[in-house]
Structures are given as structure tokens and as C-alpha cells.
């Protein structure tokens, strides 16, 4: 199984997203590099709106992810309440 990955700018907003991803994807590996944070996971990784909202303490739209995104790998499925990266193998 290949890894999917999601890299975000190392900013305040991203820290809440990373916390949410860690909670919802216990097997995720988080790598801190200069100015960016890379999260990678075997096969699949999900960002859930509800978890991010709980971490950040306000309403948050999935598309706000656009503001912090650096790069990603995997097939993207964006829904109202989640964004999923996956490989179909």
C-alpha cells in the first residue's frame, strides 16, 4: 500500500488541523520540516470538519484548507464535512 500525504504551512491554523488529523488518523506520521508540516499515512488520510472545529473552537469550512495547503498526494474526495486522500490499490 502506498502512502498518501498532506503538507501544510507551519502556521497557527495548521496546528489545529494537524491535531485533528492525528486524532482521526491514529496511524499518521507527522514530520516537521522548515516552514512546513508533512502528514503521511498508509493508503488513506481524512480531515474531518467537526474535529477541526472542535480543536479551533469556531466554525470551519473544509475549503479553508486551501489557505494552508502546500502539497498533497492521493486521490482527493472533498465533501461538505471531510476531505479524504486515498490510493485505489
Amino acid at each position: 500500500m502506498s502512502k498518501v500525504y498532506l503538507a501544510l504551512q507551519d502556521n497557527d491554523m495548521s496546528h489545529y488541523i494537524v491535531q485533528a488529523v492525528e486524532e482521526d488518523n491514529p496511524e499518521v506520521t507527522v514530520i516537521y520540516q522548515p516552514a512546513m508540516i508533512r502528514m503521511e499515512c498508509e493508503g488513506k488520510l481524512v480531515v474531518n470538519r467537526a474535529t477541526v472545529e472542535e480543536k479551533i473552537g469556531r466554525e470551519w469550512e473544509i475549503q479553508e484548507l486551501q489557505l494552508s495547503l502546500v502539497t498533497l498526494g492521493g486521490n482527493v474526495e472533498e465533501e461538505e464535512d471531510s476531505l479524504t486522500l486515498s490510493w485505489n490499490q
Binding site: 522548515p34 472533498e78 490499490q89
Partner: protein
């Protein structure tokens, strides 16, 4: 109390449908084929455009909202950077030479991408593809503007930033990126998407915008990392478009498979050659290192690209041809590229240098198979010659590959990596030269296209670039400030200024 209920907010899918698909119309009195005349000649068969998926489901209103927010953040940082004399916080003034190369080689490609997507966005009869191309076109224009704004600050303090657009159209090594994009833009609309959205955006720009930008941060350059990551936040969307395009083409018709595979083979090779410049920027031009080119290549090309091609295997797509060659070259290419520039440092629009002892030790550690064996001895020799006052510049003009336009000084990967790699072919009684099997095969497949290449060295020799004295070509045709922009960093005006500002002169 008001009893009217506010209308329920549209969900993403519904909004996307209304604001993209619903804007399309049918052709009742015009022939659709005449309206979209470029859609069929490449042989790609589209049976149902409505199957086109945009996974991000971005609509124009949301697009403007988020892009505006990105711009506000970005320009606040540019202001802070210049108000606080951010240029003084870079790790080492040599670093700026990577940024000069970025401005002259990469920023104009953003402009070409803007033009390219504006063009192909007109060529598709499917509304989803047209809207995605429209947004990407606007993104690319934003990237040009933000990059120029960011780097204009350095133009106040360092040499070589003054005439990037003029240089891009003329300078010998800048024909490598320029001709890459012109090759894509002069292809049909589907090949353009395969070349730029898929090969370039999905796999290759990651190598430029992610580890290199992380490196900019590591070298104290807040402005560059910020424009880099701001641009890259759009790239993530472009990459997703690239992946969707390839899936779409392969799901539409089985006849598309061999055409798509051929384009993948061609454009991964073209992109690999183009990125040799980025390889040397990472290994030699960033004073504080984040990761080696080889490591970046493994993460973004081999792992990320490998996962991608495993995913596409279900359509019958195979890994790009020449992948094995590419894997061997990662040990060599950055060293060979920087050696070319060191040899031709007198005709480059930025400064070159011999890596320091610590830098050479880092390269030995990162390239245990090749650096000490093949490349350290060259640098030790260069160092010795420099110490004796015999700094060596190549006085001839290099032969260029007819396809990638890189000087033909890359070497054989099967056999002795100390032997130059040359390939030739004859077309209409003329002999043409290529650097590799990849470039050779690309030429042979489309000779009519590549015989028209504008090769800087041939143009100089034909008298089309002014001169004939080298200095006149550099100063009048390229608009270099000769003796200021070029030559070694050591002893340069940039170095003298830096020492003066830092009080170490």
C-alpha cells in the same frame, strides 16, 4: 419575531453544479466542431464531458474569497520583510544567486503557464475543464505578480535582478526552461494538460516548490518561502486537476491509453532534464541545507510518483520510460550541472563558486557512491587552480541538445559515468545532436518540431545575437552588467556590499 426561514445553504456539490455545469449551453445553430477546432486532432476521444470531475468543487465566488485572503497574508509579509530589512537576515549572500536564477528561469514560466491555460481553456468543449483551466490561468498570473513583487525587494540590494524578462528570452541556459514550456504550448490542448498539469504539476513542481522553498525558509528568506508556499497552495489544486485529467482521459476511451503513455514518457523525461537546474540549486546554491537533491528526488519522484503510477496501473499505464536512467542520474546530475555553470560562470547572469570544505563534506555524506569518486577531485583541482591565480573559464561555446537545450555535458549512466553521453540522428540530410536516449527518442518522434528549435549557441554562431565579441553579446544582447552580474561570487560587488553592510569589510 420573523417567521421566514433563511434559505438553506447550498451544499458544495449543488453549488458546484449550479456555478459551473449550469453555465454551459448547447450549440443549436453553430457546429460544435468548428467552435472547438483543436479538440480532436491529437487523436484523443472524449465520449462524455459530463464525467469530468473537479474534486475540489471550487466555484468562482469561493475562488475569489480564498485567493483574496491568500494575497492579503502574502503582501503583509512582503511589507514586513522589506520594512525590517529582511535581506540582511539571509544565511549567506551566495544564497541570492539561487533567487536570481529563480526569477529569470522560473517566474517567466508562470507567465507561460498563464498564457497556456488561457489558451487551452478556450479549446475544450467540456465546461468543467474550461472552468478549471480558467482558474488555473488566473492562479498562474498571480504567481508571476507575487514573485516579481517579492524579488523586487532584492533588486534594490543585489545585482542580476534587473532585466529578468529580457534575459529569459535570450540567455543561453534560460532557453532550457523557455523551450520546455514553448514545446508544451505549441502542442495540442490535451498534450499541454498532460505535460503541465500532470507531469509538471503533479510530480515535478513539488520538487521545486516544496523542498526548495523549505530551504529558502532555512536560509532566512521569509519573502521567498511565503510566495513559494502561497503559490504552492494553488499548486495543490493544480496537481489534483492533473490527476483527474489523466483518469478522465483513460476512462473515456481505450484508444487514449497509448497516446497518454507516450506523452507521459516524453514529458517526464523533458521535466527531469529541466529540473537538473533545481538539483544544483538545492545541492550547491542553498548555504543551509534541508535535504539533498537525491533525497528530495526519492521523496517526491520515487515515492510520490511511484504511488501515483501504482494507482494508475489499473488503467494499463506504466511507469515513465527512462525511469531507470532517471534513478541512476539522481546521484550525478546536480554535480554535473553546477560544474557546467562553474565552467561558464563568466557568461552566467549570477555568481558561481567552489563549494566550501564543509559543503563538500556534506555532499560526500549525501552522495557516498559518487561525490568523492567523481566530483570532489574536480572541485579540489578548481580550488588549487584558483589559489594559484589560474581560475579556469571555458572559452568555447558548448554544444546543446536539440531537444532539452542543456549543454551536452551529462554523462553515460550505463557504463562509465565519466564519459559524455552523445546521441545523434540525421533528418533531411542534417545531423542533429541529443544528450540522451530520452531526448533522442523525442526528437525522432517529432523531428519537424524540434528541427525548429532556437538554440542559443547556434544563434550566436550565426551572428543573430550581436557581438561577435563575447562581451558585447553579454552586455548588449543579454543586458548583463558585465563584471558585476557574472563571474565568481568571490570578489564580486555583491560580496563587497554585503561585507560593508555587515561591517565585516
Amino acid at each position: 419575531m420573523a417567521t421566514t426561514k433563511t434559505a438553506k445553504k447550498l451544499n458544495l456539490k449543488e453549488k458546484y453544479r449550479l456555478l459551473t455545469r449550469d453555465l454551459d449551453w448547447d450549440f443549436s445553430y453553430e457546429d460544435k466542431k468548428e467552435a472547438f477546432p483543436h479538440e480532436e486532432f491529437e487523436g484523443i476521444k472524449i465520449t462524455d464531458w459530463s464525467k469530468w470531475e473537479d474534486p475540489f468543487r471550487l466555484t468562482m465566488d469561493t475562488y475569489w474569497k480564498y485567493q483574496a485572503e491568500k494575497e492579503k497574508k502574502l503582501y503583509a509579509i512582503f511589507d514586513a520583510f522589506s520594512q525590517n530589512n529582511g535581506q540582511m537576515n539571509v544565511s549567506d549572500p551566495r544564497y541570492l544567486n539561487a533567487i536570481k536564477l529563480f526569477l529569470t528561469a522560473v517566474t517567466p514560466l508562470e507567465y507561460q503557464a498563464y498564457q497556456g491555460y488561457a489558451n487551452v481553456g478556450r479549446q475544450f468543449s467540456g465546461i468543467g475543464a474550461r472552468i478549471a483551466c480558467q482558474m488555473q490561468s488566473i492562479d498562474e498570473l498571480r504567481h508571476v505578480q507575487t514573485q516579481v513583487h517579492a524579488m523586487s525587494h532584492f533588486n534594490k540590494y543585489f545585482n542580476g535582478f534587473q532585466d529578468w524578462s529580457h534575459m529569459h528570452d535570450r540567455v543561453w541556459y534560460l532557453s532550457v526552461p523557455k523551450s520546455f514550456f514553448e514545446d508544451a504550448r505549441s502542442a495540442g490542448p490535451f498534450e499541454f494538460l498532460l505535460a503541465i498539469s500532470f507531469s509538471f504539476e503533479y510530480v515535478l513542481t513539488n520538487l521545486l516548490f516544496v523542498p526548495f522553498m523549505s530551504g529558502a525558509a532555512h536560509n532566512g528568506d521569509m519573502a521567498t518561502v511565503t510566495f513559494g508556499f502561497s503559490a504552492q497552495s494553488d499548486e495543490a489544486r493544480h496537481m489534483t486537476l492533473g490527476l483527474e485529467i489523466i483518469k478522465f482521459l483513460l476512462e473515456q476511451h481505450e484508444d487514449n491509453l497509448p497516446i497518454v503513455q507516450k506523452w507521459i514518457d516524453k514529458w517526464f523525461w523533458r521535466g527531469t532534464r529541466l529540473l537538473s537546474i533545481v538539483g544544483m540549486m538545492m545541492d550547491y546554491m542553498l548555504p543551509n541545507k534541508v535535504m539533498s537533491w537525491k533525497e528530495a528526488w526519492e521523496v517526491y519522484f520515487e515515492d510520490a510518483g511511484g504511488a501515483l503510477f501504482d494507482d494508475l496501473a489499473r488503467y494499463g499505464i506504466e511507469k515513465p520510460k527512462y525511469s531507470e536512467m532517471i534513478e541512476k542520474e539522481k546521484e550525478h546530475i546536480s554535480h554535473q550541472a553546477w560544474w557546467i555553470f562553474y565552467n561558464f560562470g563568466h557568461v552566467a547572469g549570477f555568481h558561481t563558486w567552489i563549494p566550501s570544505d564543509e559543503e563538500m563534506d556534506w555532499l560526500s555524506e549525501k552522495y557516498p557512491e559518487t561525490f568523492d569518486k567523481y566530483y570532489r577531485p574536480r572541485w579540489e583541482l578548481a580550488k588549487k587552480m584558483e589559489a594559484e591565480g589560474k581560475r579556469f573559464y571555458s572559452s568555447g561555446l558548448p554544444m546543446l541538445c536539440q531537444v532539452c537545450q542543456v549543454p551536452m555535458t551529462f554523462t553515460e549512466m550505463d557504463g562509465d559515468p565519466g564519459t559524455f553521453s552523445y546521441r545523434t540522428t540525421v533528418y533531411n540530410d542534417e545531423r542533429y545532436h541529443m544528450c540522451s536516449n530520452g531526448c533522442h527518442d523525442i526528437f525522432v518522434d517529432e523531428p519537424e518540431k524540434y528541427v525548429q528549435a532556437w538554440l542559443p549557441v547556434q544563434q550566436i554562431l550565426q551572428g543573430n545575437c550581436g557581438g561577435p565579441e563575447l562581451e558585447k553579446i553579454l552586455s548588449e544582447y543579454y543586458r548583463f552588467n558585465v563584471g558585476v552580474d557574472n563571474m565568481d561570487f568571490k570578489g564580486s560587488v555583491d560580496e563587497q556590499n554585503w561585507n560593508k553592510w555587515k561591517g565585516t569589510a
